[in-house]
């Protein structure tokens, strides 16, 4: 036995060392890949903050755009983004939940349902700029809303609807059937079951999904360029009247100017946008943790 082991050793050990070395190198490469990806994020944030922070001030947040960088402000874009986010959220909320409830709790298994499902996952893959073209044709022209903030918000609602439906469906699917059966056993109708058992339990998950989708909506630029978001607006937007702007559009217009100072205020505006996204994301996290603490199965 001992003899056999010793005779094998000289053949395998040199190989094993090399095989393990290769493994170590590969592990190093994997760590480097993750490191490089995260480093890019860090460099991006550091670059934007070092450029933008000196320009952040109360005047910047409450002022209106100007041809002179040092006088330029962000208020119309900020108000536009808040209005846009709220309208998009309010429109998407009932539609997204309704669609998800139908697909998870009502839809009979069959061709129609499977078409509805496949279609939603395909919609999630349509480029955002295509939604812009659709919004231009439907809301701006066919429904005569014109180039307004409302038309933009409705376009963004359609854009995030598939994402909201998919995340809401996942939240509803996570509820065990015992909850449904318990509701039925108490004599609930289907809607009473949905309202009393499904919605309270799936609520945190659904809400989290909607807030994250809203975060995506307020960061969108491309579709709104087609819905006539204007780059130089010195007044506060009205949802139904033309001439509005939002943070990403304002940032785009400042980036498009060659002067360094405009790049710097673009960076400052990006910090404001990222802060808004951060707040929404944090809100989603807190909401999920808070509300789901009550649900135990």
């Amino acid at each position: 036995m001992t003899a056999a082991t010793t005779s094998v050793r000289p053949i395998f050990e040199p190989q094993l060392a090399r095989r393990k070395l290769r493994g170590t190198i590969f592990f190093g490469v994997c760590v480097a890949a993750i490191g490089l990806t995260l480093l890019t994020l860090l460099v991006l944030l550091v670059d934007i903050f070092t450029r933008g922070v000196p320009w952040l001030s109360a005047d910047f947040l409450t002022g209106v755009p100007s041809r002179i960088p040092s006088r330029a402000g962000l208020l119309p874009a900020l108000v536009g983004t808040i209005q846009m986010g709220l309208i998009t959220g309010i429109v998407t909320f009932p539609l997204g939940i309704g669609a998800a409830i139908y697909l998870e709790e009502y839809a009979p298994e069959g061709r129609l349902t499977s078409i509805l499902r496949t279609n939603i996952s395909n919609l999630a893959g349509v480029p955002s700029i295509i939604y812009g073209i659709f919004g231009l044709a439907l809301f701006v022209r066919a429904l005569s809303l014109g180039y307004t903030l409302l038309a933009g918000a409705l376009t963004l609602s359609l854009l995030i609807l598939p994402v909201v439906i998919i995340s809401s469906m996942e939240a509803i699917r996570a509820i065990p059937d015992s909850q449904r059966e318990a509701a039925y056993a108490l004599g609930a109708s289907r809607w009473q079951m949905v309202r009393g058992a499904i919605l309270p339990a799936a609520g945190p998950g659904i809400l989290t999904g909607i807030i994250l989708a809203m975060a995506r909506a307020i960061g969108e630029t491309a579709p709104l360029i087609l819905i006539g978001a204007v780059t130089f607006v010195t007044y506060l937007p009205h949802p139904l009247e033309g001439g509005y702007t939002v943070l990403p559009i304002q940032i785009f217009s400042w980036i498009s100017r060659p002067q360094d100072d405009f790049q710097a205020i673009a960076a400052a505006a990006i910090i404001v946008l990222l802060t808004a996204l951060f707040i929404l994301n944090a809100l989603a996290l807190v909401l999920r943790a808070r509300l789901s603490a009550h649900v135990r199965w």
Partner: protein
Amino acid sequence: MTAASRALTRRTPLREQGIELILFLAAAIGVLTTVGIILALIFETIEFFREISLLEYLTGTVWSASIQPYAWGIIPLLVSTLMVATIALIVAIPLGLLGAVYLAEYASNRTRTVIKPLLELIAGVPTIVLGFFAINFLSPEILQRVVPGIGGFSALAGGIVVGILVTPLIASLSEDAMRAVPRALHEGAFAMGATKWEVVRKIALPAALSGIMAAVILAMSRAVGETMAVVLAAGTNPNLTFDPRESVQTMTAFIVQISLGDTPQQSIQFKALFAVGATLFLITLVLNLLSNRVVAKFRNAYE
């Protein structure tokens, strides 16, 4: 159906039926959106092809929408789009895939709970921010120092930022695919004396291959449809070139360029916007369907 349950069904109150109808309508909005997108694209596209022959559009090698003589050959836009998307994949496949291997096979649960949200953070950065990063940092500070003869706008810069953008997508989907491989396959290989690296290379990666391919195809689709980062990084110069150092115009960049100008709605440029949009929609649709098919195939493998 028993008599009793039929009686119950028949007695379903009007209210319940009304609610079901409302919920169905909400679900149907998705289908209406798809139909709407297709109709919106088709009408103006047909108008476009009344004036420009399909053959000229598909085979023309010159695209000139703003400078006369106008020319409507899609090939320069198509080549630029594919070049940017290819560069993006060259960046994102190694980064995303190796990252996925690390997360799925090496990282402890604790490390993963730190790294995954950070990757999601990258995925959540608005693309306009990456465009800013491209023209203010990537191009002047890195590319123009390393790559000779590169301009302020280049397909390379566009491809790299789009690559950064889709890396989290590839990483996350590939990680899911690798985690779906049954642990028994790993254990079997370890029992045969394989090292960790051999298990990853010969078991985990091949077994997850179709899932990884689906992720790559989806990333390609995202890269083709990406707009703001590309407009800012690659420019709006519709020349036919295979040189990644040059400024190019992708299909999405053309749509943005036309939308920014005061283009009259009856003009040929405005109709071209829809024709290019329809082309873009078709390309991404084919890629998405392809990705779905690969995923469907992959699901059957271990269930």
